[in-house]
Point group: C2
Chain length 397, copies 2
């Protein structure tokens, strides 16, 4: 349901000019000075000179894992991936239902200006496709505030967890949008075994693939090469994503450049959360060679990571800071990772602050887009489908 | 001037209990339930269950460099240190006076819960000791809100910029607290030449030393070794700091461990801003071997870095995230870097939230200290010398 007309008054446009936006029919209908309502039920919303930017895209979340909204839970897992998988299994039964926790985080995401999310949802023998079903429910509930893509994610491996391949197919039939995967070598010990199952299923069901690759060194590089090769041979241009790809942050530049060229040719994108203690793939090098690099918060307050509140402007800052970005142009690269490039990778139409664009946008008390990244102040207003969905950092519906 | 009595009601103490604090004479006079004023002019301030923590310590700033409070200025320097030095020199004349810009940033620091700062102030042939004098003025102006240490910092080198040694001595005579230095090899091309000048002056004037070491690899390691050796031989235990020490983030563990042991023995501390794109020294390893590791924001919106608003809880998060910290104990290590360890390195008495401790503290809507780091929400109240100096993220005096 698109809202009635809104005059968003005194916004700072991305080019620095101050003006008004007329929002109507869920879109930016007019940009100008001193705009007056054309309809009787129009609302005038003061932006007080705050910068307006297109809605943010969180390209990699785990909405089903978060404990957002529940009492603080100290991190309990050991230092490796397998211990976190096991700890998560143990803790799960003591937490509120997936849909409740996911909704708590979705509200925070919206409050921070996110208008599109790609979330993985665990699929596996113990939980079946229940997490996918929970996120489908959450997607429906917040359909007017945020676009949610769901990736059926085999957290426990595909070959290593018998029955998972059938569950992935069932998750897609239930409504998941993409097929996930995880470290074919590190988890399943069979690079081509896992990829054959995933890509043949994706091809059969006509869905994209978004595969977690944490494996380091030669294993990680051979996984990216193999994923890219399958994307190319199946003609899946623009529909395959490598999540993390930490190995690209530690490999020699010529190796990364070669893989980047292959990824660009095959239309394979990369999503990053900035690395933290892991090597960060070279964002600018990858983009310069044509790879769509976008950003996601990944784990938010869950058994994998204690950090964050789902803020993609803060995430853009983290990626920029880790990348040594200082110039406005570079800070805008980081912002694009959290916005335009995310839309491209998610297959959404490009949009800016221009007449005809969807009114999926936010205001922030910053002088320029670079300033918005560098300081990432609290969002003032968030609009989606032409309605105000958050105000002063709080979900408003 | 310590304020009159304050009852800070319904705070969450660091151990999780809810209680009241009686603040009187600039100190925590009592902790209990349902405390009532003992004096006629007492104020009751509601904390509404927010967590109370000791004031934060920003152990490495450049207050004189910031452009906080002036219009956004895109980063203009080239990618290396020398180009930033030259760019800064060029830009300086177009900016408001040092004291004005520094005060703008100090207000933000206070608003974020910082109650003590160590700031470097450039000293050099073109500016003389004018930046030190400006920060002395700022220190005086904010004396009731924040403790400020000033380091006379030879940004352009000591040997490389003739006359600087005399200026450093003059800066100390004018009131600077410590002597700074910078990359004796990388900037001056003479390891022992710069250190001999610095340490003999520090010894003569009976002040501490805080030296910027950005040099990488063997140069950086030999600098740390030489600084540590001089600190030990001069008996400067607890009065010498290595700023950054990026080389410790890239050296083999046995090398780092050896230097850490030497630093611990000599009482040489390390301050970090978390590294960004540079290697981060191993915080836990250094601390485990007895090195005082503390934290600072370093450059805030200046010709060196576009980031930040002087928030030391966010800085603790950055250090934790870059270090791969996840457990509550580890997140508290990062918080300690921004708080207790900072006090120790600055030679301030230890303080917590206990009867008799100085009422230099803040409240934050978080459940636990670890949560405060992970989410670093806006500070609600900041008290210094028993008075409320900031409220809801805004400087209040």
């Amino acid at each position: 349901m698109a809202a009635a007309e809104i005059i968003l008054a005194d916004v700072r446009l991305p080019d620095g000019e101050i003006g008004d936006l007329r929002i109507a029919g869920g879109r930016i209908a007019e940009i100008g000075d001193g705009l007056v309502p054309l309809t009787g039920d129009a609302a005038r919303v003061e932006a007080a000179g705050a910068l307006v930017l297109p809605g943010l895209v969180d390209g990699h979340m785990h909405l089903d894992k978060t404990s957002t909204g529940t009492p603080w839970m100290p991190h309990q897992a050991g230092p490796d991936r397998m211990s976190r998988i096991e700890t998560e299994r143990t803790l799960r039964s003591s937490l509120p239902p997936v849909a409740e926790r996911a909704a708590n985080l979705v509200r925070l995401c919206i409050a921070h200006g996110t208008t599109a999310i790609r979330s993985h949802a665990d699929v596996g023998p113990d939980i079946g496709i229940s997490h996918v079903e929970a996120l489908l429910e959450v997607r429906q509930r917040f359909a007017e505030c945020v676009d949610i893509q769901i990736v059926a994610f085999p957290q426990y491996g595909v070959l290593r967890a018998p029955g998972t391949a059938d569950l992935l197919a069932a998750a897609l039939d239930a409504g998941a949008d993409l097929l996930g995967g995880i470290d074919p070598i590190g988890i399943d010990g069979d690079l081509n075994g896992q990829l054959e199952i995933l890509f043949s299923l994706a091809d059969k069901k006509n869905v994209g693939v978004d595969i977690h690759l944490h494996d380091t060194g030669a294993n990680g590089l051979s996984e990216i090469d193999a994923v890219t090769g399958r994307a190319r041979s199946l003609g899946m241009q623009g529909r395959v994503t490598v999540s993390h790809g930490f190995c690209l942050g530690a490999a020699p530049e010529p190796v990364v450049a070669g893989l980047a060229d292959a990824m660009a040719t095959a239309g394979v994108s990369l999503v990053t959360h900035g690395g933290g203690a892991s090597p960060l793939p070279p964002v600018k090098l990858l983009r310069a060679r044509g790879v769509v690099v976008f950003a996601g918060n990944d784990d938010v307050r869950d058994p994998w990571s204690p950090y964050g509140e789902g803020d993609m402007l803060e995430r853009a800052m983290l990626i920029a800071w880790r990348s040594g970005f200082r110039t406005d142009a570079d800070l805008q690269v980081a912002l694009d990772c959290a916005s335009g490039a995310g839309k491209q990778a998610l297959g959404m139409p490009a949009s800016a602050i221009a007449v005809g664009d969807p009114a999926a946008l936010f205001t922030v008390p910053a002088e320029t887009p670079a300033d918005a990244v560098a300081r990432h102040p609290k969002r003032r207003l968030v609009l989606k489908q032409g309605r105000v969905v958050a105000r002063d950092g709080v979900y408003a519906l």
